[in-house]
Structures are given as structure tokens and as C-alpha cells.
Amino acid sequence: MAAIEILGLEKTFSVGSWRKRPKLALRPLTLSVEYGEIFGFLGPNGAGKTTTLKVLMGLVFPTSGTARILGMELDDPRMKAQIGFLPEHPYFYDYLTGRELLKYYGRLSGVDAKQLSQKTDAALERVGLRDAANLQLRKFSKGMLQRVGIAQAILHDPKLVFLDEPMSGLDPMGRREVRNLIEELKGEGKTVFFSTHILSDAEALCDRVGIIHLGELRRVGSVAELTSSVHSKVEIVWQGAVAPAAFKTFGAECHTAGDTMRAVIAEESQDTALEALRRERLRLISVTPVRMSLEDYFMTQLTHKSDPNARGEDRRDRRAASATPTQTQAYAGDRK
């Protein structure tokens, strides 16, 4: 049994003031997240990340489909006592102090009264807000609000933590602290599901990621799996001021730096390219494999057009197979 099981979750909103029209926020979404996993839910703004989280939290009702968290229904209070949630751009009762807020949430989560003070102080300490514990939230900075938001999500020692854009509003130091905290949560055996559009965070933290765009889950897998699924590239550097004519057929853009030139081409064209350099009697300096980052992969996924007639895995498989030369050339161009 998975920690999160989502089966065909779909959400359509009605938009417009007078003439209501349907807007598809989430296409049928099927996903499972295992216990103890850090799962990154990636997508640009408006992709459907927050809608998915709102459906899972019971804040928005799905148009169709089902989901289970920790093996329980979404409206089961027993399940909600075992999860933590940080909403995007959190806003809290600003008339409360940090300590009062956490105690309030702790009581709502059913934390034992005897342990409440100790758990509150521990959560404040963990997010670096011990000194601001008695300060009213209206005096908190954006970063402090984000920290207190994380504290309320972990206060009651949940098994599963949902974090919507947890790094938002944090400075580089704060981001690193949150990254460490997420790793600590994993170390404690907790499952973490977090949405982000900061890909370096996902790349550094996640066991697996899911990429969502225009309400559709495009791909799911580990970062290594996803980035290796696209055609590999190599960077060739040689001495000289001209590129062999054959390089044009690869669609590679060649760049001059001093008395050397370099080009990034698809790995399968490597032998042909090296042969061309030999024929032209140009001196080869290096051939370096180019590792695709999650960001590169993410961009390639976002440039794919959605096919409304395709369904499920078939569609994903076709996409994976359709990393066409044209797209990889565009990618090569982007990197330059």
C-alpha cells in the first residue's frame, strides 16, 4: 500500500462572472507515492500543483476520481491527524504569537495537552523561530511566516507532510535550512510530498518527481531515470577556426573561443562528427558527455504539446519516444 494513491483525479472549475464556462484544472491524474519517499511535484505556475494539493487536503472537491492517503479516505479525520500541510504563500492569524498559533494547531490536531508546550517549543526551535516565539505574527517577515508555516506542518509529528512551494519567500540560507529539514524528515521515516518550481531543490532532494503541466501529469520517475530517457549529447571541442561541413547536417551550432571551436551534438552522431574532423585534418581537443539536468528535461517536457485524444501511459510513452532531433537541437540551442 502506498502513502498516497491517486486514481483518475479530475477537477473542472466554472469560470466567468455571468456566462460560466468550464475550465479544466486537472486532467485525470493517477499517481502513487510510496512510504518514506520524498516526492517532488514539479510544474510551472498554473500547472495544477496547488489544485492537486487542495483536492488531497479536502479543500476542493474533485469532479471525478478518487484518492487515498495513508490508506484512508480524504475526509477521514484519523488520516488528517497524521498529515501536515503547508499551503502556498501561507497566511496565519496575525493577532496570535508564533507560540499561540502552534498551540492552537496542535490542539486541533489532537496533540496531548501535556506534550503541547514541549512540541511547540521543539517545532519553533527546529525552524529557527525560538526567539520570535512570543512575537505577534503581524510583525513577522515573509520568510518568518514561511518558517512558522513549516513548523505548524510538522508540529504534531505527522507521518506524511505536504509542502506547497516550501522554499517560496526564503533567502538562500533559509532554503538550505528547509532542504536540510526535508532530509531530516525523510531520515525520520516520514513521507514528504512537495510542490515546487525551483528545480534545483527537487533535483537535490527528491527520490522521485512528477512533472505536471496544463493540469496533466507528464512524467513520473527518479531524476536519473527522467534525464537519461532523453537522447544523450556530447560536446566536441577542436582546434581551428572552421567547422566541417558535415556538422551542419547534425544541426549543431558551432561556437568559436580563441583558436578553438566547440559544438554540442547528439551522441549517435559522435562517430560521424569525429570522422569529419579527421577528414578535415582538424585537431580534436576533447569529447565530453553532456549530462542533462532536471531543468533541461523539465523544459523539454513543457515544450511538448498536449494531445487531448491521447490517454494515460500510451501518451507518455509516445512522448518519451518523440524526443525528436528538432527538439534536442532546440535544447542544444537553449543551453548556449
Binding site: 476542493v60 475526509d75 496565519f92 486541533l108 490536531s109
Partner: protein, 258 residues
């Protein structure tokens, strides 16, 4: 009471207590009661009547303003500011949230009414030098004012569950005004015929009957309030508020929090 409802009610009470607007309104109500003493002094032989009338009206009016002012934002403000997200993602059911908000504001209004009532009794003591046995009916009138607060809180909460604060304020205030004249509405229903009679009768029963809960004039003139009326009015306020709260819960249970 369910502990989660109690915690939400306590937090609602705390929010109201820390709102400076509340203190301004209470201070203004007490000021008005003080003014009643001055006006009473220039009203020969009817000082007591003026103090009771003005004092209780101030308690009623400011309590209703507070009920509407705070009540209309109870749910919509939590949705707008997204504070609700971290509450409903916990083991809190939506009906518990509505109930907690209701009891929190009702509790706030009861405490306010108590504080303002102390002001009224102090003014009364200043004017008449001693309390008479008949003054105990003031307590019944104050109790009826609190029942009005309870109904208005439920109405404000109901409108807040699905509309903006501005519209909620307009709807709640309109119902308060219509409800104040509900006896006239019943009288109008009695003299009309056909569809007008049906509509007027229906409206008279749907709108809250605030006129039955307004005993200020009667107690100011030394009239007594029967215990039977206390029971009827209590039952009426509880049933009416309960029905309105159920409607609020039904709407809120289905609402998407975008």
C-alpha cells in the same frame, strides 16, 4: 462540547478580543449610557425611563453592529486569507468549524452584553439611588437582546458561508430591519388577500421575529416579562439559529475553497 469546536470558539473569541474596533464600539456604547444619565437629568420624573431606554438600546444596537461587523467575515475572511486551509487540513470537520465560529462570536457578544449591562445598571443606580424589584425585568430584556445577538450571529455566519463580506452585511442588516418590523408584516398579511397574503405570511414566518425579542420599551415603563415568554423566546431563538446554522453548514460542506 466537542474539543475542536471549543478550540475554534476560543480562538474566535480571542480574535474579537484583540480587535481594537470592538473596544471602540464598547466604549461608545458606555459613553451613550453615560449620556443617558445626562439626558435623564433634564427629563423631569422620567429619568429612569430614559436611562433604561437609551441604555438598553445602546447595548442592543452596538451588539448588533458588532455581531454583523465580525460575523460577516467569520468564514469569508478565513477563505480570502487562506487561514482556513491549515485548519481544514487537520482533523476538523467543516460543520465543527462553523459551530466553533458561531459559539466564539456568540460568546464574545455575551461577554460584551454583560460588560455593557454593568454600565446600564451603574447608570440606573446613579439616577434612582437604589434598585427596585421591578428592575429585575431588565435582566429578561437583556437576555432577549442576547437572543437577538445569537440569531444575528447565525445569519451573518450563514451569509458569510457563500457571499462576500459586503453582501453579507447588506443581507444581514436587511433581515434585521425586516425582522424588527415582523409584527407589522404579520398585520399586513392579515389584511391582504390572495397571493399577497400568502407571500406576506410566508415572509413573516421566514424572517426572524426580532419584535418579539425587543422588550426595552416594556421594561422601561416598569412592565414585567412572563416566564412563559422567556421560555418561548428562548425556544424560538434556538430553533431559528439552529436552522440557519444547519443551512450554513449545508452550503459550506459543498463549497470549493479556491
Amino acid at each position: 462540547m466537542n474539543t475542536r469546536i471549543l478550540h475554534i470558539a476560543t480562538n474566535t473569541f480571542r480574535e474579537a478580543v484583540r480587535d481594537r474596533v470592538l473596544y471602540n464600539l464598547i466604549a461608545f456604547a458606555l459613553l451613550l449610557t453615560g449620556a443617558a444619565v445626562l439626558i435623564g437629568q433634564i427629563s423631569i420624573d422620567i429619568e429612569k425611563l430614559v436611562v433604561i431606554n437609551l441604555g438598553l438600546t445602546a447595548v442592543s444596537l452596538f451588539g448588533i453592529v458588532i455581531a454583523i461587523f465580525i460575523g460577516i467575515g467569520l468564514v469569508s475572511k478565513e477563505i480570502d486569507k487562506r487561514t482556513l486551509y491549515t485548519v481544514l487540513s487537520r482533523p476538523v470537520r467543516r460543520w465543527e468549524f462553523i459551530a466553533g465560529k458561531f459559539f466564539g462570536l456568540a460568546g464574545t457578544l455575551i461577554v460584551n452584553a454583560f460588560l455593557m449591562a454593568i454600565g446600564v445598571f451603574a447608570a440606573l443606580l446613579y439616577v434612582s439611588r437604589h434598585f427596585a424589584v421591578s428592575d429585575s425585568s431588565l435582566l429578561s430584556a437583556l437576555y432577549f437582546i442576547v437572543l437577538q445577538f445569537v440569531i444575528i450571529t447565525a445569519l451573518a455566519l450563514f451569509f458569510s458561508a457563500f457571499s462576500s463580506p459586503l453582501l453579507s452585511a447588506v443581507f444581514t442588516f436587511s433581515l434585521f430591519v425586516i425582522g424588527t418590523f415582523s409584527e407589522d408584516l404579520r398585520g399586513f398579511a392579515g389584511i391582504t388577500h390572495g397571493i399577497s397574503r400568502v407571500l406576506a405570511t410566508g415572509a413573516a414566518y421566514v424572517v426572524p421575529n426580532f419584535s418579539a425579542l425587543n422588550m426595552i420599551n416594556q421594561v422601561a415603563h416598569g412592565g414585567a416579562i412572563s416566564s412563559q415568554l422567556v421560555v418561548y423566546n428562548t425556544a424560538y431563538a434556538l430553533v431559528y439559529s439552529g436552522a440557519v446554522l444547519c443551512a450554513a453548514v449545508l452550503i459550506f460542506e459543498r463549497r470549493n475553497l479556491k
